[in-house]
């Protein structure tokens, strides 16, 4: 493992406890699922390091990684992409976040960037936060999102990415605290070739909370929709994480 697309898609809990890798391998089923062909979908996530495919203008919805707030070297908001100027698709401005103790300067930088994206003529749907709450805890995250929501102009939605780990250890309760301040969540339901254990419970929690969700898939990855998934009331469709030419053709690296 070790690529950035999987950072979003692979359980970060793999860091904890030895031997987890063994389980990840054990979890790889033997079913033959078809690889995800990006063009069969309508919504995409574009990481900062992946070249946009020429057909992306035909998408209906694109999540663009715009920048990040890193923890390791106490830095401000770092843009990872120039301001886009798209015409057709609706776009989400995604910010990868490694810390929640934001100063006003962080808010100003991120919300200022969001305003610039809108001013440049993009159909900005909202701001999406990608944060590893599995490691850091959901409670502080909910508080952070409340603060962000309070500062976010009402014309923008607030979204988050969600890792299935949140369902572990009763964190499904923590989800309810998030549901109040976010408009949608993009969730990971599988890892490698296998659907993540417990995803049904997780999606059921989202359904109970009435929180709309999209399911993240990786371009070239193996995927077979579990029965009933697409029938969920909160299900808004898939988001395909683009990984770029070579990997898409070869199939994404597996966990």
């Amino acid at each position: 493992m070790g690529d950035e697309a999987q950072v979003l898609l692979v359980s970060r809990r793999a860091l904890l406890g030895a031997g987890v890798a063994a389980f990840a391998l054990a979890a790889c089923g033997t079913r033959r699922d078809s690889p995800v062909r990006a063009r069969a979908y309508e919504a995409f996530f574009l990481w900062a390091g992946v070249a946009p495919p020429p057909w992306l203008e035909e998408a209906s919805l694109v999540y663009l990684l715009a920048g990040e707030v890193r923890a390791v070297r106490a830095s401000g908001y770092v843009p990872l992409r120039a301001v886009p100027r798209t015409s057709a698709p609706r776009v989400w401005m995604c910010v990868r976040v490694e810390r929640l103790d934001w100063e006003e300067g962080h808010y100003a930088a991120v919300l200022g960037q969001l305003a610039r994206w809108a001013a440049a003529g993009n159909a900005v749907e909202g701001l999406q936060i990608d944060f590893d709450a599995a490691t850091h805890g959901l409670a502080g995250y909910a508080q952070f999102l409340e603060g962000l929501r309070a500062r976010l102009p009402v014309r923008f939605k607030l979204g988050i990415t969600g890792l299935m780990d949140w369902s572990a250890g009763g964190a499904a309760d923590g989800l309810s605290s998030l549901a109040d301040c976010v408009d949608e969540i993009v969730v990971q339901t599988y890892q490698g070739r296998a659907t993540i254990p417990g995803y049904e419970r997780y999606l059921a929690s989202l359904e109970r909370l009435g929180l709309p969700y999209r399911v993240g898939l990786v371009e070239g990855g193996a995927w077979r929709a579990p029965p009933g998934l697409e029938a969920g009331a909160g299900f808004r469709g898939y988001v395909v994480f683009l990984v770029g030419g070579a990997q898409a053709a070869e199939g994404a690296p597996q966990a």
Binding site: D3, L80, G112
Partner: protein, 708 residues
């Protein structure tokens, strides 16, 4: 250079400052943390680098060693970075670029922690605030501008901020500014607004009319801004509608104009206010025009001239990485020695980071031979590269020894000298040369204790593990003292006697705790129950349960959950005595079904499962990768349940519980939590049915609703 991802992001060039290298590399050190392979001769890229020039290292790490080589060795102030979640797995032996940056250039770290955050960082507008101050200061220095005009001009700068915030329409400007000098400042403001609004054509026209202004600040700034504007304009076609930056699509003519403007500025103002920035922009112009040889030479000169101890060195290294190495253009256009050496080391890699978009052909001997003229002033470096090529690509270890003679009797080593001796030692190891140990021991004496020596200790430990001399690692006068190295050997390969000795006599808390933890764990899992009864006394009263078994090297606090054996949970809903009693019962009778079930519950309730399943997964080439010397074979939970069910001694209650637990091993996901190997679903169904059929009234049959 690591994964492509954040590097591509770095090439993003909306800003003017070369310090865009604020975001750093990607790769496995991202959210996963970075856990090293505990070995030295690796030819594949790894986020965890080594303290010598190597194909494995991040390009920024190799650049750092080369810069130190050119500038007087490892700075005295440098230290191994403070322990943290990110640094923990590196065990004081390996270095990620992040670790290196914070260990060698801590002051840049401190600088970044100063608030408030710079607004608009990474964009053209990051100079908005500093420009405003300079503008106000220049005005204050111009007596011919009246106070009222000055106020109006300073106030009009809000138009620039509006432009930075996306306003596109032409704003209104103060009509009250009428003095000749005031009007020049006003014209400058209009140019600056056009620049921030990315109306570069208007900006350049305006600045051009001001370069001969009688106001010194206006004239100088206007000349500098012409260059900045041209370079920013040159980037416009490189940015697509998604904000994606492709440096091959820049406007070369505009970049060339920018270059001319920079030369003109530096000629007119060699010591000017913007001279340092202009020199940085000269490199940017090379980059925008794809002039890689010129860029490489500019960096080569900086690498040799700038001090590695200077906090700006880290920024320079990141800049070189993103601007020179990220763009994998054709080989042959990097020709300055230090940059080329770094590029060559990258090309010795057997594999690149996952998802790297660069697949450069490996460097062959003929191509390296053809590079000889570029290394004319760096014969030792060139020899090292030849040896590294022989080591990593040809695997011709005898050639390595010929190229790098034994020089292990120095009192200190520069990074390059150390690299050469390390490679020699690794070649000796690869050849199975009997002198390898003596060589390492000799080399250890002069090695820098902060960075170099731990690598030698790893080499020695690795050797002794494989030569059957593990005792030498733990001998009283052992040169191997890094606690993490000793702990790895104890955890993975040591026998019971060694563990018992180091539990008491270990040289660090980590070592003593890992020895005790491993001893007790293996006593139980290998069926040495009587030993467990005695060894349990090694657990201190104060031992806690925090931490994960086997997880101490990922944990900055190095917590070892030793207290599991004395204060751990021993029962849940199946009645069991305390662990010590269970072990005692098993010491008397190793197949006592009730005691076995209680032992299994202890494993389950104290999170031993995943560790037990992963125990055999260590890489063979890694430290601790040889077979364990501890007597006996692991018995996991699945084996315990099978044993209870296979025998005839278990009570109905015990049998029902063993069936229940066997099925529950696969709950709720179908993954087996009791063993590294699965049984087929038909077997799980058979357990379930047997429980329902033979023990229908038992609480376990009532409790179990599904199988997985």
């Amino acid at each position: 250079m690591r994964g492509k991802i954040r590097h591509r992001a770095l090439a993003l060039a909306t800003g003017t400052a070369l310090a865009l290298g604020l975001a750093s590399g990607a790769g496995a050190s991202g959210d996963f943390g970075c856990a090293p392979s505990w070995r030295l001769g690796l030819s594949d890229y790894e986020c965890a680098g080594v303290p010598f020039l190597s194909a494995r290292n991040d390009t920024r790490t190799n650049l750092s060693w080369l810069m130190m080589e050119a500038g007087g060795g490892i700075p005295k102030e440098a230290g191994y970075p403070a322990n943290s979640w990110e640094m923990a797995p590196l065990g004081h032996v390996f270095l990620t670029w992040e670790a290196m940056r914070s260990g060698f250039w801590p002051s840049t770290q401190a600088e970044e922690e100063t608030w408030p955050l710079p607004a608009y960082s990474g964009t053209l507008c990051q100079t908005l605030a500093s420009g405003g101050e300079a503008f106000a200061a220049a005005l204050a220095d111009t007596p011919s501008v009246s106070g009222a005009e000055r106020g109006a001009l300073v106030g009009a700068r809000t138009n620039l901020k509006a432009a930075c915030d996306g306003a596109k329409q032409e704003p209104s400007w103060p009509a009250s500014v009428t003095s000749p000098a005031g009007r020049e400042y006003l014209a400058y403001l209009k140019g600056a607004r056009a620049f921030y609004a990315e109306d570069f054509a208007a900006a350049r026209t305006t600045f051009a009319t001001l370069e001969d202004s009688g106001r010194g600040w206006v004239a100088e700034t206007a000349r500098y801004m012409q260059a900045r504007t041209a370079l920013a304009a040159a980037q416009v076609p490189a940015i697509d509608e998604w904000g994606w930056y492709d440096n091959t699509k820049t406007d070369a003519a505009l970049a060339a104009q920018g270059q001319v403007a920079l030369e003109s500025y530096l000629r007119t103002y060699p010591e000017g206010r913007y001279a340092a920035s202009a020199r940085g922009l000269t490199r940017r112009a090379f980059w925008l025009r794809g002039q890689r040889p010129e860029l490489s030479r500019a960096y080569g000169a900086l690498l040799e001239r700038e001090s590695a101890a200077d906090p700006a060195a880290a920024d320079l290294i990141e800049e070189i990485d993103t601007k020179l190495f990220f763009e994998a253009a054709g080989n042959g256009d990097i020709d300055s020695a230090l940059s080329l050496a770094t590029w060559d080391l990258l090309r010795l890699r057997a594999s690149e980071p996952v998802m790297s978009e660069r697949r450069t052909a490996r460097l062959d001997a003929a191509e390296l031979a053809a590079q000889a003229p570029h290394f004319a002033g760096h014969p030792k470096l060139y020899t090292y590269l030849q040896a590294a090529q022989a080591f990593h690509v040809q695997r011709d270890y005898a050639a390595v020894l010929k190229l790098l003679p034994d020089d292990a009797r120095q009192t200190q080593y520069t990074p390059l000298a150390f690299s050469a001796q390390m490679l020699r030692g690794l070649a000796l190891e690869a050849l199975g040369d009997s002198n390898a140990v003596g060589f390492w021991e000799q080399l250890a004496k002069g090695a820098d204790p902060r960075f170099q020596r731990p690598a030698i200790e790893l080499a020695l430990a690795h050797h002794w593990e494989r030569s059957g001399d593990l005792a030498k690692v733990f001998a009283a006068n052992s040169p191997v003292q890094v606690p993490e190295i000793r702990a790895i050997l104890l955890e993975h390969v040591a026998d019971g006697a060694t563990l018992r000795a180091q539990a008491k006599g270990g040289t660090s808390t980590l070592e003593r705790e890992v020895a005790t933890m491993t001893l007790l764990y293996k006593d139980l899992t290998r069926g040495h129950f009587a030993d467990f009864g005695r060894d349990r006394a090694l657990v201190p009263q104060s031992a806690g349960r925090e931490g994960w078994i086997g997880g101490w090297l990922r944990d900055a606090a190095r917590q070892v959950p030793l207290g599991s054996f004395t204060k751990g949970r021993w029962q849940q809903d199946f009645a069991c005595p305390a662990l010590a009693d269970t072990a005692q019962r098993l010491a008397r009778d190793g197949s006592d079904p009730g005691a076995l079930l209680c032992l299994a519950d202890f494993y389950r309730l104290n999170n031993f499962d995943s560790y037990m399943a992963g125990e055999r997964w260590r890489g063979r080439e890694e430290l601790g990768g040889t077979p364990s010397r501890f007597a006996g074979e692991l018995t996991d939970r699945a084996a315990i349940y099978a044993q209870v069910l296979a025998g005839s001694r278990a009570s109905a209650q015990e049998r029902a519980y063993a069936l229940y637990r066997s099925v529950m091993c696969y709950a709720p996901s179908g993954n087996n939590s009791c063993s590294a190997t699965d049984v087929p679903e038909s077997q799980r169904k058979a357990w379930f049915q047997r429980l329902k059929r033979e023990y229908p009234k038992s609480r376990w049959a009532t409790k179990l609703k599904f199988y997985w």
